[in-house]
């Protein structure tokens, strides 16, 4: 099962590598990992999407907590999190009916066109993972030249018990 783990770490040299080596050394999976500074510049926030049964997830959270540079670990269950992912897509597409169709679909998924050229188009999509997956399926018949996904970022909602 997929789990989202939010980790606050000290914004220090080598922290990402400690987390990555913990996962590889103990045979845990990382599906995606994002990291960036928080409002406090000395602290970074990581969102890790991982797969495992309850026993493995318990070990992952405990092992993360054991790292000296890790300040807080929270497992975000479906009901308590707001999670978003962004994807940038570059399509090879000329002006014509196909492009009109593509623009319409990007609009349906509340995406934005960032660049429109003679032979290509770059679009941005943001949303929950399910929406991104659905959009990618619908858009896949168009010639996707390149794609870049951020992986998931998440926050716990206020006032909801984990």
């Amino acid at each position: 099962m997929k789990h989202i783990i939010s980790v606050l770490v000290e914004n220090e040299f080598g922290v990402l590598s400690r987390i990555a080596s913990l996962f590889s050394g103990r045979g845990f999976n990382i599906e995606s990992l994002t990291v960036a500074e928080t409002e406090d510049k000395t602290i970074s926030s990581m969102t890790i999407v991982t797969i495992g049964d309850d026993h493995i997830i318990e070990q992952i959270t405990k092992q993360l907590n054991k790292l000296i540079n890790v300040i807080k670990v929270v497992e975000l269950t479906e009901s308590v999190q707001m999670a978003r992912e962004m994807v940038l897509l570059k399509f090879a597409v000329n002006s014509g009916p196909k492009r009109l169709e593509l623009l319409r679909l990007v609009d349906v998924y509340q995406g934005r066109v960032l660049e429109l050229g003679a032979r290509s188009l770059i679009a941005e999509l943001t949303g929950e993972r399910a929406k991104i997956e659905a959009a990618l399926e619908v858009l896949s018949p168009f010639a996707i030249k390149e794609m870049s996904r951020t992986g998931m970022v998440a926050l716990a909602r206020d006032g909801v018990k984990n």
């Binding site: 040299f13 080596s21 050394g25 405990k62 092992q63 054991k66 000296i68 807080k72």
Partner: protein, 565 residues
């Protein structure tokens, strides 16, 4: 105030931390440090290989309970510490290792003697640091000692670029540590402890399963009092030997792959198993689903990751084992009726345990060839009143030492349990001897593993550390040979040590006393001579070549399924 160099700051902070001894090896990157070293009170012991410096610091830490310190240069000096760090990490030994590093502007340039030791040592340290500015050095060293010695202890590495050691700044006394994410939990949860005691009081067939955590937490006294008051039998892991006196009738001896018949049977049949500072290692549990299958399991450990990692636990208690045992004793003392009923209710259980003991005792047949078990028993017999410290190498020598030596005191047993590091015993003995110059320190070795760090004979002779190395020489890598005999149809592939040196001559070449015994009747006089000698001794004892360690639980089997003699 005057600005002082990084090297001076380091040595001053070590003094403030109460460090008396450093095991080390100099090199280009740490030459500034070595330049200042004689101005400070720390004694430095020059080893012959950096791995030995770390094992010596480890042996010193195990014997004293203090944090061991090693100092080496960059590059190969640093990479040579890795086995020592991994050994200490697996066995939770407090240690701070300083490594030299190329100057900060050169880091990443593949400079001469550069190694990314922070990257390399990350998985085998509790934590590590690269000091980038001399201003951070004092704080980092204090943090390192705090991390190494608190919670579940472990090794911490500090990488010191040459320009940081040479750089100057003001030393500010007692800089605050900044460890937001590190706050180990010492006090066990009172409610959980209460629940645990209720279960223990009601148990019909309880067993205490005691690991190295009890030694590390200095909780042997509390454990002994609780076990004796409630009349609960105690088994220790390899790491826990000495935490409970083995001459007590409640002692079951060691459990696990080479545990005693009674310990493995008692754990298998128990209805309540209390794990104290132990981590359900595969060499202890054997087949996990058959391990204490019908028992309620109470697990006390300071490291939350150890709990429910391998075996599901009914009552987890995260905390310092001495704190938790102290609270258990308080509860016991305030519950007289339950205590009496509990202690009085174990007659049938203890009778069953005694039956198992008599059914299959640890045994061997001494004939006209020296048996290794006989040697270990003789060592025990001759040193009973001397309170010796025993270290071991790894393999059969280690298991026979664990089985046939009677351990009664904590911190008198130095062995690489988790990692199983051959070559550990001699340098560890050296470290313990530095800490306790007056005590008898014995390394029980094999002819294979002694050759992994025999260069340290030079160190023990140089500093007149009167370590006694007793080699159980069977001409084989015995434990691997035993597996080959039992599970690979006697295919002794690469386990015969045909070209070992003459160990008596080797000792002589280093300036130590070399002795040899080849017949059973020579063992006692040779050992007596060795123990009476004021300096280091190597005793080469030619033992039965194909003797096996029994009982043995084949890998992956239930621990009740033992091969017996």
């Amino acid at each position: 105030m005057k600005e002082i160099s990084g090297a001076q700051i380091l040595l001053e902070v070590l003094q403030e931390q109460g460090v008396e001894v450093i095991f080390g090896y100099p090199g280009g990157a740490v030459i500034n440090l070595y330049d200042c070293l004689p101005d400070y009170s720390c004694r430095h012991f020059l080893v012959r290989h950096e791995q030995a410096a770390v094992h010596a610091a480890d042996g010193y830490a195990r014997a004293t309970g203090k944090t061991g310190v090693a100092l080496v240069t960059s590059g190969p000096g640093a990479t040579n510490t890795v086995t020592g760090l991994a050994t200490a990490s697996m066995d939770s030994i407090p240690m701070v290792v300083f490594t030299g590093q190329v100057p900060t502007p050169l880091i990443g340039n593949d400079a001469f003697q550069e190694a990314d030791i922070v990257g390399i040592s990350r998985p085998c340290t509790k934590h590590n640091f690269l000091v980038k500015r001399v201003e951070d050095l004092e704080r980092i060293i204090n943090e390192a000692f705090h991390i190494a010695g608190s919670g579940r202890p472990g090794p911490v590495l500090i990488d010191l670029p040459k320009d940081v050691i040479a750089g100057k700044c003001l030393k500010k006394a007692a800089t605050k540590t900044l460890l937001k994410g590190y706050n180990p939990n010492y006090a066990g949860h009172p409610g959980q402890i209460q629940r645990a005691m209720e279960i223990i009081f009601k148990a019909k067939k309880p067993v205490f399963y005691v690991g190295g955590g009890v030694v590390l937490a200095d909780a042997a006294k509390e454990l002994t009092e609780l076990a004796r008051s409630l009349r609960i039998p105690v088994t220790t892991t390899l790491m826990g030997l000495g935490a409970f006196p083995e001459d007590d009738e409640l002692s079951l001896g060691m459990l696990g792959m080479h545990g005693t018949y009674r310990a493995n049977m008692a754990v298998t049949e128990s209805d309540v198993l209390v794990a104290l500072g132990a981590r359900f290692d595969d060499r202890v549990t054997g087949r996990v689903d058959k391990f204490a299958a019908d028992a309620k399991i109470i697990h006390i450990d300071i490291d939350p990751t150890s709990i429910s990692k391998n075996v599901n636990v009914d009552i987890p208690i995260v905390g310092d084992v001495a704190d938790v045992l102290g609270k258990m004793l308080d509860l016991m003392k305030s519950s007289e009726t339950e205590t009496k009923a509990c202690a009085g209710g174990h007659d049938a259980w203890l009778a069953e345990v005694a039956r198992w003991r008599d059914l299959h005792k640890l045994s061997y047949q001494q004939d006209d060839i020296i048996k290794p078990q006989f040697v270990v028993e003789k060592i025990g017999e001759l040193t009973r009143d001397k309170n010796p410290i025993v270290s071991t190498e790894v393999g059969q020598n280690q298991m026979w030492a664990a089985q046939f030596f009677t351990f009664t005191e904590p911190r008198s047993w130095l062995t690489s349990g988790g990692l199983g590091t051959m070559g550990y015993g001699l340098p560890a003995a050296m470290g313990a001897q530095v800490a306790f110059p007056e005590r008898l320190v014995i390394d029980i070795a094999g002819d294979g593993s002694i050759q992994m760090n025999s260069q340290e004979l030079a160190t023990v002779v140089q500093y007149n550390l009167p370590v006694k190395v007793i080699i159980l020489n069977n001409g084989y890598l015995g434990m691997v040979r035993q597996w080959q005999e039992l599970f690979f149809d006697k295919h002794y592939s690469s386990t015969t040590m045909d070209h070992a040196p003459d160990f008596v001559k080797l000792a002589d070449a280093y300036g130590a006393l070399g002795l040899r015994a080849t017949k059973p009747e020579e063992v006692e006089p040779v050992l007596r001579q060795a123990f009476a000698h004021p300096g280091p001794v190597v005793v080469d004892i030619v033992v039965a070549a194909e003797e096996n360690v029994y009982p043995m639980v084949p890998a992956g089997e239930a621990i009740s399924n033992m091969l017996l003699v």
